[in-house]
């Protein structure tokens, strides 16, 4: 069973996203901030198959968290979530990083779940 980590400071989003992923057969872990996510990585022996990182977070943002994970744990399977794709600075950073991203509000049935299934299948394959 694939393990997916969700990092978002909005409890409603964590809850809804978690429910959807679990209903689709994934194992879900969640964190409300970058620091919390880093602590989870240090305490857990198992890496997730994918980490969904919200960009705007209290404290360090999602981009910084991705950099830490890559540097400290050599983990790069991150997918960004953002409500700020309309913001020029955020959009340019997302394009430069060449990582998958979902724009909020999330469309679970038509975008998020189909993509995740394909993404995990390709990475595991």
């Amino acid at each position: 069973m694939s393990l997916i980590l969700i990092v978002d400071d909005e409890p409603g989003v964590l809850q809804t996203f978690g429910d959807w992923l679990e209903s689709d057969g994934y194992e879900v872990a969640s964190a409300g901030s970058a620091e919390e996510a880093m602590a989870w990585f240090r305490q857990t022996n198992r890496f997730p198959d994918a980490a969904l990182l919200d960009i705007k977070l209290p404290g360090a943002n999602g981009f910084e968290l991705a950099d830490w994970l890559s540097k400290d744990f050599d983990f790069d399977n991150v997918i960004f979530l953002t409500a700020f794709f309309w913001e020029e600075e955020t959009r340019q950073e997302l394009v430069a990083r060449r990582r998958p991203y979902f724009e909020k509000p999330l469309k679970f049935t038509h975008e998020v779940l189909p993509f995740l299934r394909r993404y995990l299948s390709e990475n595991q394959g």
């Binding site: 409603g12 959807w20 913001e87 509000p105 049935t109």
Partner: protein
């Protein structure tokens, strides 16, 4: 509106007005000094020119008389005295009665005019004056037919004292009703013995009226001889000035300078000094006619630079009006600036707020859409009104998403807010219609 912006705006307007006021005040003060000095210099130049002119005219009047008397003396050597008197030594009185020369006469060693009654009051055609005109003139000048002094012994004595002397000019002499002075040339025989003299007698008042008065233009002026006898003083200021000048001992010094200047072939000496007249300070400008007379113009400083003061007052009025207009314009501009600044601040605040709203709404929509999709996905088959409601909710979510995107375009400046001012109400904005369609989502 931000209180600081309000204060800054008005402070700037006030500062600009104050700076302009300082510039205008500085200009006013500078011009005040400059104009006064310029007017004073110009005035002094005019006074100097006028005094030089008078000095020259007095010089000419003196030497014309000296030349006339010398010519008459030469004629005495070749003419019979009686014939000479008839031909030349006549007393012309022109119909207007204006003549500097009161009379020309031959005087003997006894100092008496000979023949004192022989001179006739005639016109320039050599004919006796009309009795009515003569009577009219005699009302003002009772001495008209007999202007002579009792004795001219002082003339004879002057020539006897100095056998080399070729001319004589007397100080002012009080004659009935007027001051006169006498110019004379000696009449000597071939051996050099003095036989008498030819004199011309002139009235100071007439000299002043004919030569000096046309150029006075109301200034205070006095005329004095070398002995300090005041011949003319146009007003009380002139009388006071002459009195102070005499008391100060400046007269002998001026005459000494005049004598030296005459010896150098000049008309006379000149100078200026400051006098205290009562509470005021006066400027005195003087010229001598050789070492015979001194003519002076006196002016108090309050009167000087009057033209400059008038010009300055006009400038001051114009500057004041300009300043008021500038302050009014600055005030109007500041009001407009603050209103515009106020709107800009409102716009900026709205833009920032739209970004925050967008973030919050997108997160909330994620939850609502997630739940909505979960219902639609998990409900088996058609659930009637519930299924229709979920579809409507989906449509509403999409409408909200469109609104959020519009806010985001606004936040990014891709569309603009247009201010629609409404009288009596707070500001109201709408999206600029031209840009609304052009934004990038």
């Amino acid at each position: 509106m931000n209180r600081q912006t309000f204060l800054d705006g008005w402070a700037f307007s006030l500062l600009v007005t104050l700076l302009a006021a300082m510039v205008l005040a500085g200009s006013y003060l500078w011009l005040r000094v400059d104009l006064k000095n310029e007017a004073l210099s110009e005035h002094r130049r005019l006074v100097d020119n006028q005094l030089n002119l008078w000095q020259e005219q007095l010089y000419d009047a003196k030497w014309d008389s000296v030349a006339d008397t010398s010519d008459d003396v030469r004629h005495l050597g070749s003419y019979d005295e009686a014939r000479l008197m008839a031909d030349t030594l006549v007393w012309y009185v022109y119909p207007d009665g204006h003549s500097i020369i009161e009379g020309t006469a031959v005087i003997g060693l006894d100092g008496r005019a000979r023949p004192s009654k022989q001179a006739a009051v005639i016109n320039d055609a050599g004919e006796p004056l009309d009795p009515e005109l003569l009577a009219h003139l005699k009302k003002e000048k009772p001495w008209l037919e007999d202007p002579w002094l009792g004795s001219y012994q002082f003339v004879i004595k002057a020539f006897q004292d100095d056998p080399e002397r070729e001319s004589f000019i007397s100080p002012f002499i009080q004659a009935p009703g007027r001051l006169v002075f006498v110019i004379a040339a000696p009449w000597r025989d071939e051996a050099g013995a003095l036989k008498g003299a030819v004199i011309q007698q002139q009235a100071i008042g007439q000299l002043f009226n004919d030569v000096i008065k046309p150029g006075t233009h109301g200034v205070s002026l006095w005329l004095m001889d070398a002995k300090g006898t005041l011949g003319v003083a146009t007003d009380q200021t002139a009388r006071e000035s002459a009195k102070i000048f005499l008391a100060s001992g400046a007269l002998p010094q001026a005459m000494a300078k005049g004598l030296k200047a005459a010896q150098e072939g000049k008309f006379g000496a000149g100078g200026s000094l400051v006098q205290g007249l009562g509470l005021e300070t006066a400027h005195l400008y003087w010229r001598t006619m050789g070492d015979s007379f001194i003519v002076a113009v006196v002016e108090n400083t309050a009167g000087l630079g009057a033209q400059g003061q008038r010009t300055l007052n006009r400038f001051g009025a114009i500057a004041l009006i300009s300043l008021v207009l500038l302050a009014a314009a600055g005030g109007a501009y500041t009001l407009l600036y603050l209103r515009r600044e106020n709107r800009m601040l409102e716009k900026a605040a709205l833009r920032r707020y739209t970004g925050t709203v967008s973030h919050r709404v997108r997160n909330s929509l994620s939850v609502i859409r997630g739940v909505n999709e979960m219902f639609q996905h998990k409900l088996p088959g058609d659930q009637g009104p519930l299924s229709a409601g979920l579809v409507n909710a989906e449509t509403a979510i999409e409408d909200i998403e469109d609104t959020v995107r519009e806010l985001e375009r606004l936040s990014q400046g891709q569309v603009d807010l247009v201010y629609d001012g409404q009288v009596g109400k707070a500001s109201m904005y709408r999206l600029h219609p031209d840009k609304k369609q052009g934004g990038q989502g």
